[in-house]
Symmetry: C2
Subunit: 467 residues, 2 copies
């Protein structure tokens, strides 16, 4: 059943567990390749592959002629070094760590990005060759303080197309969308300040707000936006400084903000002097632009942020903040103080790809491909009695309800043993109200083994509960 | 005298000042090109160029047939939009903002980086072409949590050559050296905590520590390192959490830490449980490696950080942190929370260039070129009665003493009027003890006009004092 990649990971996991449990202490000799292959009923080449990877990670080392040994610097240092620990609390970092450290050949229905071959690879390659012919200053100098002006001009025009009117001098480039939100939090949050988020919301908002020691207040998310009554109560009770949200193709639900709710949210925000961060990272996945808080508000209380990790590249990183002049002035000082400048080469590359005629076609093809993947995933999950909470208008995420008795967190644990990363509902839920939900990335659900592994893990969980 | 670039900037500055002073309010029509050219005694094409640049910045706009108008969104938003304001306090941000926003054709003896054509342009171009042929995952996926493993392995070996023994799993990539220090500050500083820095030190340490609301405590820097008596007193009095320093080719003095002082600093740090951040950004400028705190200490209390902005590219950004396992574990969580991941493409590019045989030759040629530039600058400054505080063993910085009666800050103000960015002593000095000092970047002092402008500005200051 399992392919060679899965078996290799199984060997690596077994060795790491023995090191973590000190049954293989620092300096100890590992089982010989032949002995381990026999005991695990796998081929010696799989063991060789696993040992070589562990050597590359610094977990073990090879002494030619003598065998493999646990490094003296003992092992369980970081999740990065030992892979996703099964005993780690399923917290907002869990899915991130598991996804970032997963072996690339394994399915990752829980991760938040597209497979690399869905991205505009040819355009990226042309962009890199173009950059190789750029002026010396572009390759060597720091970019200007707010970031490459032509990209800021492009972004200002692009924001105009979704109704957000902003001049380029009110757009600052960042190194990522997450960094954009972090910058805003740094300027306005003190430890203990309350921040509103949707419940459920993108799990890394929770990790970020923890890093700021904010009080996280979840507002139940309805299919059309936040629950207004709950929001009003939370504002009165917690006096929040910020509300961080996605309006279009909300992560994880895939829902879209309705114009009526948008207006009411802005009214509540104005009364409470609340600043709203609108993360528009999924903008390009929409066929028709849905309402944006920033467009109704004219950037008075709303700060618009975004990035290109989802449609262009997660390796060549570039984000932006569009905000009021007084915010931009303070953000620019913060940028100097905390990173001095941005990545000029990445900005140039992103601009080249975005400006190419091919980008529009790429995005259109991507939307169509995601629609097909969405249908396929909904169908395959239905066979496992997993139902959509909402059928999204686009994008890659499907927020799904597990059948009775199946706990998402247990399922994710069982699944990671088989090497597959899932995103259990409660990592998205500040109120931990989503124990029977799971977010699926439909672009990462194209292989039948995803559903086969899921079925196995579900069966295992049912039998454990029965037993 | 002034070239066309300088004249264009003069026009832009004049217009910005009128907008800032509201003598040209929002919506007002600008002087016609012909009228302004006549009144400023410059060619109409210079005015056209200046107006076009202001249009590109969004400060003014053109209505075909009607002329140029101040944009309705009024202008003096950010230094980035209006250029270095002459009335801005000369604070730690001053030189950064002025340098980042300077028109590239003007001399920048005050800036902290090499001219772009001193950097390994051919290797960067080859690297970009190589990256254009990389695997899809390299171009599209997030890199692993700590960052590209082969680059971390390379950096671990490189740290080994200066005596710092560290496995790759204790090296985390960041997007810049500044970000590396910021990350460390985020994990260990509370507002009000005391932090030791050298007096003078890199001015952006001061900006960064202000962003963290730390209490900055300056330790006078002697040619061989920090003044130990002052450090001992400061530790007893302020109970600092961190000491941030450069050991090799200290910025701004160019000094090098002596082994004796290194040992005593580590002893003091151990007694006081003080963590030391050693910023080794100038490592490649040294002919012979000088003592590193991290090598004596074995990363027990020292965290080593660095980047490649000085010798490779300031546009393709990549830094690193080498630290104890418990630090790396927490830094990795912070990385996820605050930026999710790093820039994989930049890391791959940096690795390609560093691994090339040509990089070593580039660095050797750079050192020789800097030696010549240092001698030239020392000679040219001597004619203006400006003397070195110390003749550095290498690198780009010369910390110089101005003649009696010349104030560095006034000189920098006078100089920016002529379009040249200088770095006055007190921006580096937490105790403001360097009003008669100036940091010169010798690589940016290769044009005779630097010294001509300096002489003019000094003469102007003398005459003002006399008058």
């Amino acid at each position: 059943m399992a392919n060679s990649g899965t078996r290799t990971v199984a060997v690596m996991t077994a060795i790491r567990q023995r090191i973590a449990a000190r049954s293989l202490p620092a300096g100890a000799r590992l089982p010989s390749i032949r002995a381990l292959a026999l005991s695990m009923r796998i081929s010696p080449s799989t063991v060789v592959e696993a040992y070589e990877r562990l050597v590359a990670e610094g977990v073990i080392r090879s002494r030619p002629g003598a065998g493999f040994f646990v490094t003296e610097q003992p092992a369980p240092l970081t999740l990065a070094a030992i892979g996703p620990r099964l005993d780690r609390e399923i917290d907002p970092f869990w899915v991130s760590r598991a996804s970032l450290e997963a072996v690339p050949t394994l399915p990752m229905p829980g991760c938040g990005w597209l497979p690399a071959d869905w991205l505009p690879q040819d355009a990226l390659r042309r962009g890199l060759r173009g950059l190789a012919r750029a002026q010396p200053a572009m390759l060597g100098d720091y970019p200007s303080l707010l970031g490459l002006l032509p990209l800021r001009q492009f972004l200002a025009r692009r924001l105009g197309t979704v109704g957000v009117e902003v001049p380029p001098q009110q757009v600052m480039l960042t190194d990522s969308g997450t960094q954009a939100i972090d910058d805003i939090c740094r300027l306005c949050l003190e430890p203990g300040d309350a921040v509103l988020v949707d419940d459920p919301c993108y799990f890394n908002f929770l990790a970020l707000l923890r890093a700021h020691r904010a009080r996280i207040v979840g507002i139940p998310r309805t299919p059309a936006g936040p629950d207004l009554e709950a929001m009003e109560t939370a504002i009165a009770r917690h006096k929040p400084r910020l509300y961080i949200t996605n309006s279009a193709l909300h992560n994880p639900t895939g829902g879209t903000l309705s114009p009526v709710i948008a207006h009411r949210v802005l009214k509540l925000a104005a009364e409470a002097k609340l600043t709203i961060v609108e993360d528009d990272i999924f903008a390009d996945f929409e066929d028709e632009p849905s309402p944006r808080l920033a467009s109704f508000d004219g950037l008075e209380r709303v700060i618009a942020i975004g990035s290109f990790s989802k449609t262009l590249s997660a390796s060549i990183r570039c984000g932006y903040i569009a905000a009021r002049p007084d915010w931009i002035e303070r953000l620019a000082d913060l940028k100097i103080a905390t990173r001095f400048s941005g990545n000029g080469a990445s900005a140039a590359l992103v601009l080249t790809v975005l400006q190419e005629g091919g980008y529009r076609r790429h995005v259109e093809a991507l939307r169509a491909r995601l629609r097909r993947a969405m249908q396929h995933t909904i169908g395959a999950l239905a066979k496992l009695d997993i139902q959509p909470w909402l059928v999204p208008k686009g994008g890659m995420f499907l927020w799904a309800l597990l059948p009775n008795g199946i706990d998402a967190e247990s399922l994710a644990r069982a699944s990671i043993e088989a090497g597959m990363v899932l995103a259990p509902g409660n990592v998205f839920s500040p109120g931990l109200t989503a124990s029977n939900r799971m977010r699926f990335n439909v672009a990462q659900c194209q292989e039948p083994r995803v559903f086969a592994l899921l079925e196995q893990a579900m069966a295992l969980q049912s039998s454990r509960r029965a037993g």
